[in-house]
C-alpha cells in the first residue's frame, strides 16, 4: 500500500448553461481513481462554482498509480432526471511519482466532452504521498523517468546507455464490442479514451520494470504508438532506450566523466563486477588507460554463456581475418569487439533474471560527443501481415499477466494475445539486426517502428541507421575517459562517423569509396543516408534542406491473402522508386548526405503511398556529388535530341542554382590526392531493405541500377519523362525560409527566441475517373507542395526563419481520400550572423559548463520565469521553501535574485492595467504585503515583481510547444514528466460546426489547449519533443457526422530565458552584498 493520492476540487469557470430555464448550472464533481469515487457538493445556480472541496484521499498501490488515470467528471445535478455530464478531465499522475519531477499538479484544466469539446474549466490540486517500497519483486516501476526526447535530456548526463526496451499490450477495442451497439457514442468514446489511458499506463510501467532490471533509471526516446486494428483489437506498443542518467546538479558534474565521484556507483549498486578504479574520485590518471573493461577472457566467457543466440554480433569478417582496412582496421575490429562484449555483458549476465537484450537498438537520434564512431547507412525492414483473430488461442495472453483483469472487466476473455504481435515485431527487429551486421555494424541508432493498417492488412515497418558505437557509454561505468581520448586521437572530429564501418574488400554491396576529404586517412562512401540527426561536430558545407520523395501506386482491391500478396509484391518497387527519387533530388541539390530519413508507406483500399522525408546536407568529408546525366533512348531524332539537351541544361542550371542557394562551395581538391583503389567504382547506394510476408526468407534487394551508372536518367518512355519533370517542379522555399526535418538546420546556429509550432492537415478527394499512377503522383506531389507553400505564406511574418522538424504523415482514410498531416516548428534566426561558423566544440562545452554553473539559480528563477502571470506554480512561499531545501541558498538571497522580467513592459500595455483594475474591484482589495527596502534598484525590481501575483491569476500563462528537444535562446532547467494524451472527438452536427475543416480546426486547437493546461498545472512553461503521433479522421457527411482521434506526447519542462539568466547572474553578487533586501515577502 505504498501511495496516497490526494485530490482537491477548487472551482470551476465558464461552465456551459445546463438549465435552459435559469440559464445557469447546478454543478458538482465526481473524482474517480480505480474503483473509488468521491463527490463534491452541488454548487447551485452558477457558471463559476466555488466548490473548495476537502482533500479526497485515495490509498492505492503504486502499480495503480502508474496505470490508472485520475478521472474527474463534472456533472449538472438534476433533481428529477439523471444528472447530465458536462465533461471530464483525465489527469496522468505519473509525473508525481518520481522525485525530481513535479511535486504537485495544480491549475485550470479544460473540461472536455467527446461530443461537445471543451466546456469550461476546472481548478484541481493533486498530490501524491509515496512510501518507499522495498519489495524487490514489485510490479511497479515508480521512479523510472520517461523522456520523449531522442537525445540525452539537456540537464542530465548519460552515465550508461543500456539499450533497447520494448513492450506491447493488446486489448479488444471498445468501439467494436457488442455493447457499442446499445450505448451512446459518448460512452463508447469515453470507454476508449479510458482504456487507452489505462493501457498506456500499464505499458509504461512494464517498460519501467525492464529498465529497472537493466539497472537503468530512465527511458530516453520513448515512443508509444497505438494501432487501431479494428475488429481484431487495439495494440499499444512502445519502444525506447534505457539509460542511467545523472542529473547535472553541480558544476562538478561537468568535469570529464572519469572524475565522476562515487555517486555514479550508487546508481549501479548491484554491479557484479565493479571496476575498482571507478571508485577513485580523483582525476583521471594515465594508469586508467590500461583498465579496459573488455578484458577478452571475460567477454568471451560471457559470449559462451549466452550462446543460445545464433546471431553473433561479430561481423562476418571477424577479428582474425585480418582483412580489415590498413589503417583503421585493427582498431575498428577492436572497437567492435569491445562494444559487442559490452552488449553481451549486459545481456548475458547470468545473475539477471530478465530476458536477454537481443536487440542492440537505440531510439536516440542525437548522441553525446564520442558516442557515435561510424555510421553504416540506413537499414529498414517491412512486413505485410494479416490481422486475424481466429488463430489466437484465447486466454494465453492473460496467463502470467496478473493485471490483465483490469483491462478485461467488460469482457470475459481476451480475444488477442500480445505474443503474436510480439513475434511479428521480433521478426522485423531480427531482420534489421542482420542488415546492420551485413554493414559491419553492431548497433542500430535512430531506430523507429511504425504500422499502416487498412482493413485486415497491416504493414509493419522498422528502420534505423546501422552504426558502430563507442562502448564507453554502453558499459556499466567501467571504461571512463581513457577510451575517448584514444578515439579522439584516431578519429578527427567532424568526419569520423562518415568512415565506413564495413570492410572495403568484403563490402556488403558494391559502393564507390574514396579517401575521406577531411582527414584523407580512411575511406568514405560517396553518399550517406541516415535516420539520425546531424552530429554536432560534423563538418558541413553550406546549409541543408528538406528533401522529399513522394509516390503513389495503384493496387487492385482484393481480400485478405490476395491483398497481402499484392501489397508485398508492390513494396519493393515502391522502395526502389522512393530511393531513386531521393537520390536524384539529393544530386539536384548538389548535396551528398541525408539525415533524419523517414520513409513512410501507407496502405489504402486501392493504392499504396510512399512518402520519404529527409534533410539533405553537404558533408565536407564526402566527395562532391556528380551531376545528373540524361540519356535518350531513340537516337538520330533531331528534335528529340534537342529536347534532351534542353532538359539536361535545365537540370544543370538547377544544380548550379541550388548550390548557390544553399551556399555549397566546397574547396577544390585535385583528384590525384584522393585516388580510388576500389576495384569496381560504381555509384551505389546503401539503403538495405527487404520485405517479407511469411518471413521465412529475407529478400535482399539490389538497389543498384543494373549495369548503368545510377545517375544517368534514361528517358525511354513517358513515365521517365514525368519523373524528370517532377524533379524540376519542386520549388525551393521563398527567400528567407529554410526547412529541414531534423532538430537543427545544418548551417544555421544563431537562433533567436521566437518559435511557432503548428499542425496543418489536408485531405483531398481524388476524382475517381481515370486514376492512373501518373495522375496520382501528380496529385500527391501537388498536395505536398501546396501545403508547404501555404506554410511559407502563413509564416511569412517570421522571416528569416527555418521550419525545423517538419514531420509529414500520410494516410488513406478512405477510397479516393488522401490525408496529409504536418507538424513542425518555425524558428526565427538572425540573418546577420547566419554565416558565422560554428564555434569549436571545446569552446561550446566550456560555455555549456559555465551556463550550467548557474544551475544553482534554477529555483529562484522559476519564481519569475518568463512572463507567466498565471503560472500555476505553487504559492510563492511554498516554492521558497522547496528552493531553500534544494539549493541551499539562503532564502534572503533568493528573494532578491528575481529578475526585472518584463513586468513593466507588460503593464505598459493598457490591457494589463485594466485587468489589474478589474481585479481590484472584483476582489475588493489586493492583499499584498510587501516589505522590501527600496533603497536599491534591486529592491525596487523586486517589489514590482512581487506585486504581480494579484494579476497573475487573471491571465493565462504562455506555454511553448516544440517538436525539438530544446528551446532556442533558453535553458531547460527541469523536466517535469512525460505528457502522453489521447483524445476522441465526435460530432453529429458536422455542418453546424463549420464542416470538416471547422470541426478538426477546433479539435486540434482544443488538444493544444489541453496539453498546455496539463503542462502549466505541472508547473512547466513548455513542451519539448512534442509529437502528434496519430490523427485519425473519419467522416460521414451524409449523416452529418465525423470522428477524430488524436494522440500526442512530449516532455513537460521548465525553461528560463538565457537573457534572464544573465540578468540574474549579474544581480546575484549584488544581492549578496545587500543583506538589507532580505525582507522580500509576499502574502497573497
Amino acid at each position: 500500500m505504498p501511495g496516497k493520492l490526494k485530490v482537491k476540487i477548487v472551482a470551476g469557470r465558464h461552465l456551459p448553461v445546463m438549465d435552459r430555464a435559469s440559464d445557469l448550472t447546478d454543478a458538482f464533481v465526481e473524482v474517480k481513481f480505480g474503483n473509488t469515487t468521491f463527490k463534491t457538493d452541488v454548487y447551485l445556480k452558477s457558471l463559476n462554482p466555488q466548490w473548495n472541496s476537502e482533500w479526497f484521499k485515495f490509498e492505492v498501490d503504486d502499480e495503480d498509480l502508474q496505470d490508472e488515470p485520475l478521472q474527474i467528471t463534472v456533472l449538472d445535478h438534476d433533481t428529477y432526471s439523471a444528472n447530465d455530464a458536462i465533461g471530464k478531465v483525465y489527469i496522468d499522475i505519473d509525473p508525481l511519482l518520481y522525485s525530481e519531477a513535479a511535486t504537485v499538479i495544480s491549475g485550470w484544466f479544460p473540461i472536455y466532452d467527446t461530443i461537445h469539446g471543451i466546456r469550461g474549466e476546472i481548478n484541481v490540486v493533486v498530490k501524491v504521498d509515496l512510501f518507499n517500497d522495498l519489495n524487490r519483486f514489485r510490479q511497479s516501476s515508480c521512479g523510472v523517468k520517461f523522456f520523449c526526447t531522442t537525445s540525452i535530456p539537456k540537464c542530465y548526463r548519460a552515465v550508461i546507455i543500456h539499450g533497447f526496451v520494448e513492450e506491447l499490450v493488446v486489448n479488444e477495442d471498445p468501439e467494436y464490442q457488442w455493447i457499442d451497439r446499445i450505448r451512446t457514442p459518448r460512452a463508447s468514446n469515453e470507454a476508449r479514451q479510458r482504456l487507452i489511458s489505462l493501457m498506456s499506463g500499464e505499458l509504461q510501467r512494464k517498460i519501467g520494470l525492464k529498465v529497472l532490471e537493466m539497472r537503468g533509471n530512465a527511458v530516453v526516446g520513448y515512443l508509444q504508438c497505438f494501432d487501431l486494428e479494428g475488429e481484431s483489437g487495439l495494440v499499444v506498443r512502445a519502444i525506447g532506450t534505457a539509460c542511467t542518467l545523472d542529473k547535472l546538479s553541480s558544476p562538478a558534474a561537468f568535469l570529464p566523466a572519469c572524475n565522476s565521484p562515487s555517486k555514479e556507483m550508487k546508481e549501479i549498486p548491484f554491479n557484479e563486477d565493479p571496476n575498482p578504479n571507478t571508485h577513485s574520485s580523483g582525476p583521471s590518471t594515465p594508469l586508467k588507460n590500461q583498465t579496459y573493461s573488455f578484458s577478452p577472457s571475460k567477454s568471451y566467457s560471457r559470449q559462451s554463456s549466452s550462446s543460445d543466440t545464433d546471431l553473433s554480433l561479430t561481423p562476418k569478417t571477424g577479428m582474425g581475418s585480418g582483412s580489415a582496412g590498413k589503417e583503421g582496421g585493427p582498431f575498428k575490429a577492436l572497437l567492435r569487439q569491445q562494444t559487442q562484449s559490452a552488449l553481451e555483458q549486459r545481456g548475458g549476465s547470468p545473475h539477471r533474471f530478465c530476458r536477454r537484450r537481443e536487440f542492440p537498438f537505440f531510439t536516440l537520434t542525437a548522441f553525446p560527443p564520442g558516442f557515435l564512431v561510424h555510421v553504416g547507412g540506413v537499414v529498414s525492414a517491412r512486413s505485410v501481415k494479416l490481422l486475424d483473430r481466429i488463430h489466437n488461442p484465447a486466454f494465453v495472453g492473460i496467463m502470467g499477466n496478473t493485471r490483465s483483469y483490469k483491462l478485461l472487466d467488460w469482457n470475459s476473455f481476451n480475444s488477442d494475445e500480445p505474443e503474436t504481435r510480439d513475434a511479428w515485431w521480433a521478426e522485423i527487429r531480427q531482420e534489421i539486426k542482420s542488415h546492420a551486421k551485413a554493414l559491419g555494424c553492431h548497433a542500430v541508432v535512430g531506430y523507429s517502428e511504425s504500422t499502416s493498417i487498412c482493413e485486415e492488412v497491416c504493414i509493419l515497418s522498422a528502420s534505423g541507421t546501422a552504426a558502430v558505437l563507442n562502448p564507453r557509454f554502453l558499459q556499466d561505468g567501467t571504461v571512463e575517459g581513457c577510451l575517448e581520448q584514444r578515439l579522439e586521437e584516431n578519429l578527427p572530429a567532424g568526419c569520423g562517423f562518415c568512415h565506413i564501418p564495413y570492410d572495403e574488400l568484403n563490402m556488403p554491396f558494391p559502393a564507390h569509396l574514396t579517401y575521406c576529404y577531411n582527414c584523407r586517412k580512411q575511406k568514405v562512401p560517396d553518399v550517406l543516408f541516415t535516420t539520425i540527426d546531424l552530429p554536432m561536430d560534423a563538418a558541413v558545407i553550406g546549409k541543408g534542406c528538406l528533401i522529399q520523395a513522394r509516390l503513389c501506386r495503384l493496387k487492385k482491391k482484393a481480400q485478405a491473402e490476395a491483398n497481402a500478396t499484392a501489397i508485398s509484391n508492390l513494396l519493393p518497387f515502391m522502395e526502389y522508386e522512393v530511393h531513386t527519387q531521393l537520390m536524384n533530388k539529393l544530386k539536384l541539390k548538389g548535396m551528398n548526405a541525408l539525415f533524419g530519413l523517414r520513409i513512410q508507406i501507407s496502405v489504402g483500399e486501392n493504392m499504396l503511398m510512399g512518402l520519404a522525408s529527409a534533410t539533405g546536407v553537404y558533408l565536407a568529408a564526402l566527395p562532391t556529388p556528380g551531376g545528373i546525366q540524361i540519356a535518350g533512348k531513340t537516337p538520330n531524332d533531331g528534335s528529340y535530341e534537342q529536347h534532351i539537351s534542353h532538359m539536361q541544361k535545365k537540370i544543370n542550371d538547377t544544380i548550379a542554382k541550388n548550390k548557390e542557394l544553399y551556399e555549397i562551395n566546397p574547396p577544390e581538391i585535385s583528384e590525384e590526392i584522393i585516388g580510388s583503389p576500389i576495384p569496381e567504382p560504381r555509384q551505389r547506394s546503401r539503403l538495405l531493405r527487404s520485405q517479407s510476408e511469411s518471413s521465412d526468407e529475407v529478400t535482399e534487394l539490389d538497389l543498384s541500377h543494373g549495369k548503368k551508372d545510377a545517375f544517368v536518367l534514361e528517358i525511354d518512355d513517358t513515365d521517365a519523362m514525368e519523373d524528370v519533370h517532377s524533379l524540376l517542379t519542386d520549388v525551393p522555399p521563398p527567400s528567407g525560409f529554410y526547412s529541414c526535418n531534423t532538430e537543427i538546420m545544418p548551417g544555421i546556429n544563431n537562433w533567436t527566441s521566437e518559435i511557432q509550432m503548428f499542425t496543418s492537415v489536408r485531405v483531398i478527394r481524388l476524382s475517381s475517373l481515370n486514376l492512373t499512377n501518373q495522375a496520382l503522383n501528380k496529385n500527391f506531389n501537388d498536395l505536398c507542395e501546396n501545403l508547404l507553400k501555404s506554410l511559407y505564406f502563413k509564416l511569412r511574418s517570421m522571416i528569416p526563419c527555418c521550419l525545423c522538424h517538419v514531420n509529414f504523415t500520410v494516410s488513406l482514410p478512405e477510397d479516393e481520400l488522401i490525408q496529409v498531416t504536418v507538424t513542425a516548428v518555425a524558428i526565427t534566426f538572425d540573418k546577420n550572423q547566419a554565416l558565422q561558423t560554428t564555434k569549436t566544440h571545446a569552446e561550446k562545452s566550456l560555455q555549456r559548463a559555465s551556463t550550467d554553473n548557474e544551475e544553482l539559480l534554477q529555483f529562484p528563477l522559476e519564481l519569475c520565469s518568463d512572463a507567466l502571470p498565471s503560472h500555476p506554480f505553487p504559492p510563492a512561499k511554498e516554492h521558497l521553501e522547496s528552493a531553500s531545501s534544494n539549493s541551499g541558498i539562503p532564502a534572503a538571497q533568493r528573494a532578491t535574485s528575481v529578475d526585472y522580467s518584463s513586468f513593466a513592459d507588460r503593464c505598459s500595455s493598457w490591457i494589463e492595467l485594466i485587468k489589474l483594475k478589474a481585479q481590484t474591484i472584483r476582489r475588493g482589495s489586493i492583499k499584498t504585503t510587501v516589505t522590501v527596502e527600496k533603497a536599491s534598484p534591486v529592491g525596487e525590481g523586486n517589489f514590482r515583481n512581487r506585486s504581480s501575483p494579484p494579476c497573475a491569476n487573471s491571465t493565462v500563462g504562455v506555454v511553448k510547444m516544440t517538436p525539438l528537444s530544446f528551446i532556442p535562446g533558453a535553458k531547460i532547467t527541469k523536466y517535469l514528466g512525460i505528457i502522453n494524451m489521447f483524445f476522441i472527438r465526435e460530432t453529429t452536427s458536422l455542418r453546424e460546426e463549420g464542416g470538416v475543416s471547422g470541426f478538426l480546426h477546433a479539435f486540434i486547437a482544443e488538444v493544444f489547449a489541453m496539453v498546455r493546461a496539463h503542462v502549466a498545472a505541472l508547473g512547466g512553461n513548455a513542451v519539448v519533443s512534442y509529437i502528434m503521433k496519430q490523427c485519425v479522421f473519419m467522416e460521414n457527411p451524409n449523416k452529418n457526422q465525423a470522428q477524430c482521434l488524436i494522440n500526442v506526447s512530449g516532455d513537460a519542462v521548465v525553461f528560463v530565458r538565457e537573457s534572464e539568466l544573465e540578468v540574474v547572474s549579474t544581480q546575484q553578487p549584488a544581492a549578496n552584498c545587500q543583506p538589507s533586501c532580505t525582507g522580500g515577502e509576499v502574502t497573497t
Partner: protein, 382 residues
Amino acid sequence: MTSELDIFVGNTTLIDEDVYRLWLDGYSGLWGTVCGCRFGGAVVLDGRAGRARMSDAVALRVRSGILEQTGATAAVLQSDTMDHYRTFQMLERLLHAPPKLLHQLIFQIPPSRQALLIERYYAFDEAFVREVLGKKLSKGTKKDLDDISTKTGITLKSCRRQFDNFKRVFKVVEEMRGSLVDNIQQHFLLSDRLARDYAAIVFFANNRFETGKKKLQYLSFGDFAFCAELMIQNWTLGAVDPQADDMDMDLDKEFLQDLKELKVLVADKDLLDLHKSLVCTALRGKLGVFSEMEANFKNLSRGLVNVAAKLTHNKDVRDLFVDLVEKFVEPCRSDHWPLNDVRLFLNQYSASVHSLDGFRHQALWDRYMGTLRGCLLRLCHD
C-alpha cells in the same frame, strides 16, 4: 482533386490584421459568392462549397497586391483566408465577453494581440453609428439594418456586429453602479477612447436623443459624443450622487424639473433687459457681429431658456439637439458669427447672470449653462 479539408493550427494563434479587418467588415470568406456584391448572413465555413470564383475577402486581398509581394497563389490565399476566418469565428463567442478571451485556454494569443482583437471588434464605423445613435437598440431597429447597410455601403454583416456590440454593451452596463466609462472599460477591456465613445452611444440610446433629422446631419458622431460626455458629467444622477443606480445613464430628473425656474430670465421683462444690457456692455467692440447679436439677443436667450424649461417632457428631451440647432446654431449661422464670437457671447451670456440680483438660481444656471455652453460651441460648425 478537390480539397476536402484544409486547416492550419498554431500553438500561438496567428492573427493577420488585414484579414481580421476584412472579416470585421463582413466580407465573405466563402467560395462562390459574387465578387463585389455584399452578402451578409452567417458564414458556413465548409471547404466543400463550390469554388468557381474567388471569395470577396480573397479578391480584396489579391487586389492589395499580396500575391506579387509574396509570390503566393490564389489558392494559398484562399486557404489562408479560410483559416483566419474560422479562427475569428471561434473567437467571436469569446469577444462577446472580452474578459473570457483573457482567461480562455483554447487560443494562445499574446496580450498585445488580444487587445488588438478586442479593440477592432468593438470599433465601429462613423457612418453606421450616426444612423443608429439615439435609436432604441431593439429588434425593430435591427430590422432596419438592411436599409442602413444599403445607405451606408457597410455590409449587413458588419452592421449587425456593430449593432450587437452596442446592444451588448448597453445590456451589461445598463443597471450598474459607478462610472459608465469605467464599467465599460472593465467589462469589455476597451481603450479609454473607445470606452468613452461607447458611453456616449449607451447614453444616447438610453435617452433616445434625436440625431437623425436632416438639420442635424452636419454633426459628426464626435460632436454628439462630446456633448454626451459633458451631459454625463453634469446632468446625470451620478454627477450629484456617485452611488446612485443607473447614475450615468439617466438624466437627473430633479434637475430637469428645477430647470423650469430659469424661465424667469426671459419671462421677466426687466431681467431680460438687464441681462441684455450687461452682455452688450461687456461685449461692445469685442464682437465682429455685435449689432446682429444685439438685435438677436432676446430671441437667442428665449431659445436657450425655453429649451431648458421644456426638458421636463421626455419628448422634448429627445429633441434637445434639434432645438439647440434650431434656436441657437442656425440663427448664428445665418448671421455668419465666427466661432470666437460665439464663444465670447456664450461666456458673457452665462457669466452675466451672476450679476442679476433678482435671480436666485445661480447654481442651477451654472449646471445648465456650463454644459450647454460646451455643447453649443461644439455644435457651431458647418
